[in-house]
Every structure is written in structure tokens, then in C-alpha cells.
Amino acid sequence: MKVKQISIFLENKKGRLWKALNILRGAGINIRALYLADTSEFGILRLIVPDPELARKVLEENDFAVKMNEVIAVELEDKPGGLASILKILKDSQINLEYIYAFVHEKKDKAILFLKADDIDKTIKALQDSNAKILPAEEVYKL
């Protein structure tokens, strides 16, 4: 149920994002989803990759500060209101989201939403109780 995500600290400096991604390219790691959060001075790059352990290893070998954490992947209807319906479930269960990002699934009419919440187990339960479709990690890595 929980999908491993790696977060990488990046300075807001020319070439840093490229350097991180180039290391992953060198290790033959393909990126499934990506989200870059930034402030005026630094950014945090969040990645979903098929082999998060390997990605962490190669990045750390190249002196990047990396954190491994867990997010939830939810399959959505790719239509107006799809995302809103999931957010309503979370709101009603009083769950605080740290951040979300979404991308369109290759499956027709589907999108995938990645959720980071402070209490991941409570979030999974709330989503399951409302019959939202949570994707298993293996399926996400294989996308």
C-alpha cells in the first residue's frame, strides 16, 4: 500500500537538477513520477522510481542528501471532480496533507495521485473505508 519515494536536497543552482538526474540515468533508473518543491534558496526533488534503494545508493555515493519516505498512490478517474472526491474523503477524516502531486496514467481515463500525509496509516484506512483505489507499490514501480 505504501510507495517508497526518495527526496533529494538540491541547491537552487544551475546544473544541480541535471546532475542528480544524470546519476540516475547512469544507473539505468527510469523515473515514474517527479515533483520539485522549491524555495528561493533550495529545492527538494521527490521521485518515484522502480528501484528506490538503488537510486538512494547511487545518489548518496555522489554526496547527495537523500531521504527515503513513504507516500500513498491513489488511482483517480481522469475527469472533472476526480481529485476533489479524494480530497473530500481526507477532509472529512480530518487528515492533514503535507503535499500531493498527480500525473496522468497510461491506462485510459485514469490518473494517479501521490499523497504525503502526517499519519499514513490513518490516511490509508480513511481511503479504504471510502472505497478509493489505492495502488500497490509494485504496480506503481512498474508503471
Partner: protein, 432 residues
């Protein structure tokens, strides 16, 4: 004009005779009254009666800032505490500050040397002096104040800050002499112009500045902006405060008041005494201080000394303007900062590696200090809010340590330069 012609134009022979007498007296007093010095002299197997000529000063042990800290607060006093009528402390350094205690006689010496210096700048009893140096534990404000009062000039003890008020008073009171740090002076002139007051049209006849490193370019800029000559003031709390050495109109070095402060220039590594003209560390022995005499104080300031008679008529030796430090101390906005203080602050943050770099710039007249800190996997969080809080926390810790707000920038691990294990800790982009 010369304030004290007898002393300031004394012949070298007469001066040396006075100096040796005063040195002998000082050594005797510290040996008898300051347990710390008694022990130190005994450890070095030197006794007051061994001082027979000025050359013998080389046999005396040095006094460092650490020595002064060790006896915090009053351990260096050579008189009863009740005879001390004023205390000051050195500014923002690691650990305990250095306390300087003054008897009534010491305040008189301080007033005398500052009166000599202000007279070099052309100050007379007709002048109105606006003293923007801080009044308080810092010696800057009071030193200027005492000297100006000795001369009989009118002092405006306005202290630092309130820039708009400074400008208004300067204009309304008809200030003729300004005392400030170079960077504050430049800032003041800018604000004055914004306020529609041209500092060039003021009645200023002289500017005294100190407490910061500066360049000849900066002096010329100040002189141009205020249309008045600017004079350098040197001093340090451990010795007395401002007034140890000051510039005469020749502006070719600062006359050190050798009848009160005995200067030596040494190679800071070997301790060898350097000949006139050679640059090295300035070491000062007080010759007349009563409350807190100091033997061979290592100032860590780099200068050279010149014993040639000056065209102004004074015979007192001149030191060149201070161009550097023996240690890694920085002066940022007039505040002393050691990289070790920054390191100490960083070590308070769990998981933070003390890999940092200090960058000092003067983007727009005022000094700015940035501290780059490497993140580590331990402190890195996926949460932006937490990372920004961390940045703020480091800034707060550094401010608690050095007394200045700095900008902290988090950088990626192992991106700060390391050279043979010893990192380049400080990049000072200001031009001195």
C-alpha cells in the same frame, strides 16, 4: 595645534628615560598587586629588579586575550576594587568578555590621549562634536567623550543609530566634528541625501573614524561626501579604548602615545622583535595605567612602526593603518567575529556537520555576512517547512553567539571546498 607639546614632541632620549622608569614601576606594581602576573613572572623566572633597560622588556611574558579571560572579571585589577570608578568590556567575542577597569587616574590618561588625538584633527573648544560611537560597555563612546570634554568642545552624546535624528541634529546644532565608523558614515551620508540635506554643505571641519578596517579609497569617499578631512583613531579595550594611536594632519600613520603605551612589533610566530618598517603583530605594554596595567599585550593587529620625526612636529612613533589580523578575527559592522563562534553555534544543532563557509560582503555600504552550511542526510527533511525552520534556527544560534543577524544558506553535502582537511572558512569580499 599640539595638545601636549612637551610630551608629543619629546626627544627620543628623554622619552626612553621616561619609558624605562614607567616600565619598571608598572612591572613592580603588577608583581606586587596582581597574583596572576606574580605567578606568570615567577614561572618565567623574571623579577621587577631584572628590568634595567627597555631592551629587557623582551624578557617579560606576553599577555593574551585568553589570559584576561581567565581572570574574569576583576582578576587583573592592580588596585582595590573601590578605587575603580568605571568598567568597560570588549565586544562580542567567544566566552566571557574582557573587563577593563579604570581608576580616576586612568580616566585622566584616557582623556589626555584622546584630547591629543582630537587636537590633531583640529578640534578646539569652539567645536561641536557629534559622537555616534555607542555609549555603554563599549569603549568607543566614552573615549571620545572624555577627550572632547578635556578640550572643552561641546559634545553631543547621541550614540549609534537614529540616523534621521543624527542628520537633523547635525544640521540644527551646526555640528563641526563627526565621529563614526566608516560604514556608518557612508550610510549616514546616503540617508542625508535622501532627506534632501547635502552633507557637503554642512559646517563639518573634521571626521574621526575607527573600530573598523577601511581603505584609503573609503577614506577619500567619506571626505568627498562630507567635504571634510577624515582621521583614523586606533585603540582597544584591553589597553584603554580609543586613543592608543591617532592620525595627525599628515595622514602618514598614527602617532602612538608612547609615554603611556609602549609598542613593539613582533613576528607572531617566532616572537622575534622586528625592526622599524617591518610588518608584524603589534604588542603593547601600558606604562601608566593604575587600575589595570597590561604587560606585552598581543593585539593580533598587523602593522609596522616608524620612528622618523613627522612633518607635523611630533616625535612620537607612528604605526601604519591596521591592514590585517594575526588570527582569523573578522570585523563585521564593527563587531568582532571569530569563525570558531560560528562553528560553536552550528554544533548546537543535532546532526549538523560543522562544514561551513563565511562570506562577508559590502554590497551597499553596510557589511553583510552569509554563512553557508552543508546539509547532511541526518538533518535533511522532505518537509520544506522543517528545512526553513532549521535555517532559521541556525541563524538564531549564530546570532546568540556573535550578536549579529546573518543569512544562513543550506548547501548540498560536500560542496564546500576542502583543502587538505582544512577548509577555507572565510571569504572576505570587502576590499581593505
Amino acid at each position: 595645534m599640539i595638545w601636549n607639546e612637551e610630551m608629543e614632541c619629546i626627544s627620543r632620549d628623554d622619552l626612553e628615560e621616561l619609558q624605562i622608569r614607567r616600565l619598571q614601576d608598572t612591572v613592580k606594581r603588577v608583581y606586587e598587586n596582581v597574583p596572576y602576573y606574580k605567578r606568570k613572572l615567577e614561572e618565567n623566572n623574571i623579577y621587577p629588579e631584572d628590568i634595567e633597560s627597555l631592551e629587557d622588556i623582551k624578557e617579560l611574558p606576553y599577555t593574551t586575550k585568553d589570559d584576561l579571560r581567565e581572570v574574569y572579571p576583576f582578576g587583573m585589577f592592580a588596585t582595590h576594587r573601590k578605587d575603580i570608578i568605571e568598567v568597560h568590556t570588549s565586544s562580542g567575542t567567544t566566552g566571557k568578555p574582557v573587563v577593563s577597569g579604570y581608576t580616576r587616574e586612568d580616566i585622566e590618561i584616557w582623556s589626555e590621549v584622546m584630547a591629543r588625538g582630537l587636537t590633531m584633527m583640529g578640534v578646539t573648544e569652539d567645536d561641536i562634536i557629534q559622537n555616534t560611537h555607542g555609549y555603554g560597555l563599549f569603549t568607543g563612546g566614552f573615549g571620545v567623550h572624555y577627550g572632547a570634554q578635556k578640550i572643552g568642545a561641546t559634545v553631543i552624546p547621541i550614540s549609534t543609530g537614529q540616523t534621521r535624528r543624527q542628520i537633523e541634529i547635525m544640521k540644527d546644532f551646526g555640528t563641526t566634528v563627526m565621529i563614526f565608523t566608516p560604514s556608518y558614515g557612508l550610510y549616514l551620508s546616503e540617508v542625508a541625501e535622501e532627506e534632501g540635506h547635502n552633507p557637503k554643505k554642512s559646517q563639518l571641519k573634521a571626521i574621526g573614524f575607527g573600530a573598523e578596517m577601511w581603505t584609503e579609497e573609503m577614506r577619500r569617499e567619506l571626505e568627498r561626501r562630507f567635504n571634510a578631512p577624515a582621521f583614523n583613531i586606533y585603540g582597544l579595550t584591553e589597553i584603554i579604548g580609543p586613543g592608543v594611536a591617532m592620525e595627525c594632519p599628515e595622514k602618514d600613520g598614527l602617532h602612538i602615545f608612547e609615554d603611556h603605551f609602549y609598542p613593539e612589533i613582533i613576528n607572531s610566530k617566532t616572537g622575534e622583535t622586528l625592526p622599524p618598517g617591518k610588518r608584524g603583530e603589534l604588542v603593547i605594554t601600558t606604562l601608566t595605567r593604575i587600575g589595570m596595567p597590561i604587560i606585552r599585550f598581543r593585539t593580533k593587529d598587523i602593522t609596522s612602526i616608524n620612528y622618523d620625526e613627522c612633518s607635523c612636529g611630533r616625535t612620537l612613533a607612528r604605526i601604519s593603518r591596521i591592514t590585517g589580523r594575526v588570527d582569523d578575527m573578522l570585523k563585521v559592522r564593527g563587531v568582532s567575529v571569530f569563525p570558531s563562534q560560528v562553528e560553536k553555534a552550528l554544533l548546537k544543532v543535532d546532526g549538523l556537520q560543522p562544514h561551513y563557509q563565511i562570506i562577508v560582503t559590502r554590497p551597499h555600504l553596510m557589511d553583510e555576512m552569509e554563512v553557508k552550511v552543508e546539509t547532511s542526510p541526518e538533518i535533511f527533511s522532505d518537509d520544506i517547512g522543517e528545512m526553513m525552520e532549521l535555517q532559521k534556527k541556525i541563524e538564531d544560534y549564530i546570532r546568540d553567539e556573535i550578536g549579529l543577524r546573518v543569512k544562513v544558506t543550506l548547501v548540498e553535502p560536500k560542496t564546500l571546498p576542502r583543502s587538505e582537511g582544512k577548509a577555507v572558512r572565510v571569504i572576505d569580499k570587502r576590499k581593505f
